[in-house]
């Protein structure tokens, strides 16, 4: 191994924020595959059986985890506090929803082979131009990536080039998602108004209600989440990742050593928006509906809280935070639906005051305290070899 290679592995060992993701990715994949197998292979009454309801719920959580990861990439690593990532998630979802709408064909209530029900209801005679081609899966998938990506590019270009930062930027992102919400609520926009898009039947010809389709969607979500984790890990461990951290900690310094920081910020923002959009596109077929409520500013703020709870600036933290908080939400709202927002607020205050690095920070702190007794040399040797294998794996 070359000296530079050795140095690289030492680096990872030095615990760049983000740490190692490979073990987590493996656990995630094993758990999802296991849950799927238990759903398909065990009989319904069995103690080991995982219900399709649970699978769908888990799939939804994984989509949220991806959204949280997207927010963490810009907020935790680059200090761009986006309070509007729900917009990219929803746009990805709408693009998928449009495809699913067109898949319904003549099976809608009005039986119109071309127009979705809500258009017939509005007495429209033909498909608006932006619905054309959306019956093709590949066109829809390109739109899933393109529309949020271009929006993020334009927004980022304008905002970062004029050097809008901090609170002002956050407010602009809120305004963005709010404006989109108002727009999508309007019937004339052609996205189903406040009912949104729903009553989907199948995807690529597969019945959306069937267990196997649901399992496949669930596994796909896990796969995309893992891919996003690994890609983000790769980016954050490259020199570009170091530049991104540098921008977070001192943007002026970064400029004065020759980096065009706004370009870095724009592309990171686009990357993040695209992850959010993919999450949205995977979310819609699993929950069966997309409506303008997904653009609601509150949604985007919730995502930030998930990330804070898990630990911002650590990729795994965002995922863990999203999974745990959403599980808690499911449990809590079953008992006391009105109380959830208060709970969430309290959680945020507690985390900000007592766990500035989130659960992952707490975990590594505990690990450090427990490991303090061990001889240091052995510890380093072991973890650096782990870093090497992980480097090869990622």
């Amino acid at each position: 191994m070359s000296t530079s290679g050795m140095l690289q592995s030492v680096f990872k060992d030095r615990g760049q924020p983000g740490g190692r993701v490979m073990p987590f990715v493996i656990i995630l994949l094993v758990v999802t595959v296991l849950a799927s197998a238990l759903n398909l292979l065990t009989p319904e009454g069995s103690a080991l059986h995982v219900s399709t309801y649970t699978i769908t719920l888990l799939g939804k959580y994984l989509c949220y985890a991806m959204l949280a990861l997207a927010v963490d990439v810009v907020w935790g690593y680059c200090g761009i506090l986006s309070l509007g990532h729900g917009a990219f998630f929803a746009l990805g979802g709408y693009a998928m929803g449009m495809y699913l709408m067109r898949q319904i064909g003549d099976r809608g209530v009005y039986g119109n082979p071309l127009l979705p029900d809500f258009m017939v209801f509005l007495d429209w005679q033909e498909l608006p131009w932006f619905w054309l081609g959306m019956d093709q899966f590949w066109v829809a998938m390109i739109m899933v990536l393109l529309v949020p990506g271009v929006l993020a590019y334009v927004f980022g270009f304008l905002a970062f080039r004029s050097r809008v930062t901090g609170v002002y930027l956050s407010i602009m992102t809120q305004a963005l998602t709010y404006a989109l919400m108002l727009a999508f609520f309007r019937n004339e926009m052609g996205f189903g108004g406040n009912n949104g898009l729903t009553d989907f039947k199948d995807i690529l010809g597969f019945d959306l209600q069937s267990d196997t389709t649901r399992i496949v969607l669930f596994l796909l979500t896990a796969g995309f989440l893992c891919a996003a984790l690994l890609t983000s890990h790769w980016i954050m461990n490259s020199r570009m990742g170091k530049v991104i951290l540098a921008v977070r900690d001192s943007e002026a310094r970064t400029r004065f050593i020759g980096y065009k920081t706004e370009t870095y910020k724009v592309w990171l923002f686009v990357y993040s928006a695209v992850i959010a959009a993919i999450a949205g596109a995977l979310y819609v077929p699993q929950v069966g509906i997309i409506n303008p409520g997904e653009f609601s500013p509150i949604n985007s703020i919730e995502v930030v809280i998930w990330v804070a709870v898990g630990g911002r600036g650590t990729l795994i933290g965002a995922v863990v935070g999203a999974l745990l908080v959403n599980y808690a939400k499911t449990r809590f709202t079953a008992i006391l639906p009105e109380g959830w927002l208060f709970m969430l607020g309290a959680l945020f205050v507690l985390v900000t005051l007592y766990l500035p690095k989130g659960l992952i920070g707490l975990y590594s702190q505990l690990k450090q305290q427990l490991g303090a007794g061990k001889p240091a040399a052995a510890g380093t040797g072991k973890s650096s070899s782990a870093a090497k294998t992980e480097g090869a794996g990622a």
Binding site: K242, L245, A252, Y259, K260
Partner: protein, 282 residues
Amino acid sequence: MNMITERADQAREFFRPDQVWPFLVPPQQQSVDVSKQVLLYIEGVNLSFDGFKALNNLNLYINDGELRCLIGANGAGKTTLMDVVTGKTRPDTGSVYFGSNINLLEHSEDEIAQLGIGRKFQKPTVFEAQTVFDNLELALKSNKGVIATLLSRLSPTELLRIDEVLQIIGLQDQRFMLAGALSHGQKQWLEIGMLLMADPRLLLVDEPVAGMTPQETERTAELLTSLAGERTVIVVEHDMEFVRSIARTVTVLHQGSVLAEGSMDQVQNNKDVIEVYLGEEA
């Protein structure tokens, strides 16, 4: 008819096969023209903040390879001058040239850095959440585009260069320490080290020895003097002892313009300078 031929000529001009459109020309490193021995020209620069004149018809020429000390009371405009040279602040009027050919006012901060002007801030600024090594790696003279940094790997020469700089700034043993954990003096050095990594032509060093122990100060003086010659160094410092130990030429700034220039002794015996300094003390 005339107009048509005119248009056609314009079009022909635009599509000339022997030329490349200016926006397609890759931005290439302009090399500095120092045939007149002057590296930095600052002429008639005025800058006011809400009516307050921070720089007032300032003229300053820095020779290639020189080590120049810039002194002046608090608020004299020393840091503001560095802001202007490095592109952080635009002056209201005046011109700033790097060599006789590069107009610095046309460039942004990152472009100016890439042209070979490095800057150390008054308050030491390093990337605290990253290791000393990473800090130096970031400052390497290299392609700083997004894709290039995403795919870049340290070459053996670059590694050697980092080692060399670690040696110069005396932080070999701290290379994997987080920069935030360094002492104040070490941070100052790390920042100087980051400047060296970029291999700059001109270094602007704002108060390098603030908060350093006498030994550290002495080593900094050695380092800065050793840099001059090959590079051009402008040092702002309040510590007169330190200035005396390194300075060949000293420029005194007062209320945004140059009050006196010369050797340390000349400057100290200049009656304007004495008046201003005594006036401040009274």
